[in-house]
């Protein structure tokens, strides 16, 4: 949480610049965290297609990880993965 005072923020709750959604890290909404197991992954990219956010990180046409800044933990990637390469664990656990 930012710590600006009432004297520093724009009045009325206005946001004075556009295109700022990226600054809002929605990852902290997550209650369950997807864990990517690269050893089981066949790179079918179902998870990348189905992710409602853009939280599957792709490099050279391959899944290399998950963007936890924005992943809301919906679990769709785990659900669609034919190879059990994504596992959901509780946030705040000691994984």
């Amino acid at each position: 949480m930012s710590e600006k005072t009432w004297k520093e923020v724009p009045m009325g709750g206005l946001i004075l610049e556009a295109g700022n959604a990226a600054e809002y890290l929605t990852g902290d909404w997550r209650t369950e965290r997807p864990i990517f197991h690269e050893d089981k992954c066949k790179q079918c990219l179902f998870c990348w297609i189905c992710c409602p956010d853009t939280s599957m990180i792709i490099k050279d046409k391959k899944v290399i990880g998950i963007d936890y800044d924005y992943c809301k933990g919906c679990g769709i990637c785990m659900e669609v993965c034919p190879f059990d390469a994504i596992e959901m664990v509780q946030e705040g656990g000691d994984e």
Partner: protein, 392 residues
Amino acid sequence: MAKPMAISGNFAAAYSTKQINPHIVAAYPITPQTLMMEKFSEYVANGEVDTELICVESEHSAMSACIGAAAAGGRVITSTAANGLALMFEVVYIAASLRLPMTMCVMNRALSGPINIHCDHSDAMGVRDSGWIQVFNENAQEVYDTMFQACRIGEHKDIKLPVMVNFDGFITSHKVERVDVLDDDVVQDYIGKFEPMYPLLDVDNPLTYGPLDLFDYYFEHKRQQVDAMQKALPIIEKEMKAYGKVSGREYGIMESYHLDDADYVIICMSSTAGTTKFVVDRMRAQGKKVGLLKLRLFRPFPAKQIAEQLAGVKRIAVLDRSESFGAFGGPLFTEVRNALYDVNDKPGITGYVYGLGGRDISADQIEGVFNKLISAPDKMIGDIQYLGVRGD
């Protein structure tokens, strides 16, 4: 050249709106406001204004349209009364919270139920915590003049708040009086060109109105509104006074009538102040030291100024034209009594609730209030009485 007209309060509100020539007016008809908008729609139909008049399907929509238009960057005016204001309630708060200057006439009328179309202040008092500046006007001339002051006040860079121009339903809204009007160009010079601070239509500087604002920043934005209200008070005083240079009619946030040497004082708002002036004249002629403090500005509430005005007074009666059920006195009484808490040698104070649902208030009744103040025991306990109700 200024000229006199014989017009009602509603006509005065419509005529001043015509002279302001706002970008947008959005309103829904409700008694006793209807005649203002009927008159204004004539101006629109005749091409006498550039205003786009939006005829909406409810008061909630009227205020919503005004908020959209003000956020877009327009000068906006609307009006309503009683149940219409109640239907707006949710969005009335949003206009103030988004810091959108606009003007709303409220022809004060009793809230249902049982259903009643006549004057009291329960509608405006219902939104007294909404963050709007609230001015109460005694007569049609004050309504006319306050409409222009409202533009200057609400749009001031350090305020940016909506302004409610209150006047008594039917009593002031329908009664025909002499109103001295200004020339159009004098009005336009006084109110100036509207300069929106953050117009949505400024496509080169895109911004967001009304995002989600939770525990991290909502409190800070409310604190800003408190600050705006505090800063508004001296600016309003200055603007109302400065209006005298334009019109020859100088206003204050309150009006003292024979107050300087008065021992016994009535405090009230709107048209009842006119009746009270008549009674003060009558009793002064009999050598009685009575006076009136007419409050024009209710929000922000000028507590310090009221305490200064009432220093040295023996006894006060506060007349409230609305009830706050279960509270210790009407809204004006509780505010005034609160304002006097830190005064040395406090005056005795009593509260009257009167005139609910348009019940007439007569000069004799007001004289009765003064006489009770004069004959009261030294220590008054701040009791609340009901003036003009049968059975008390």
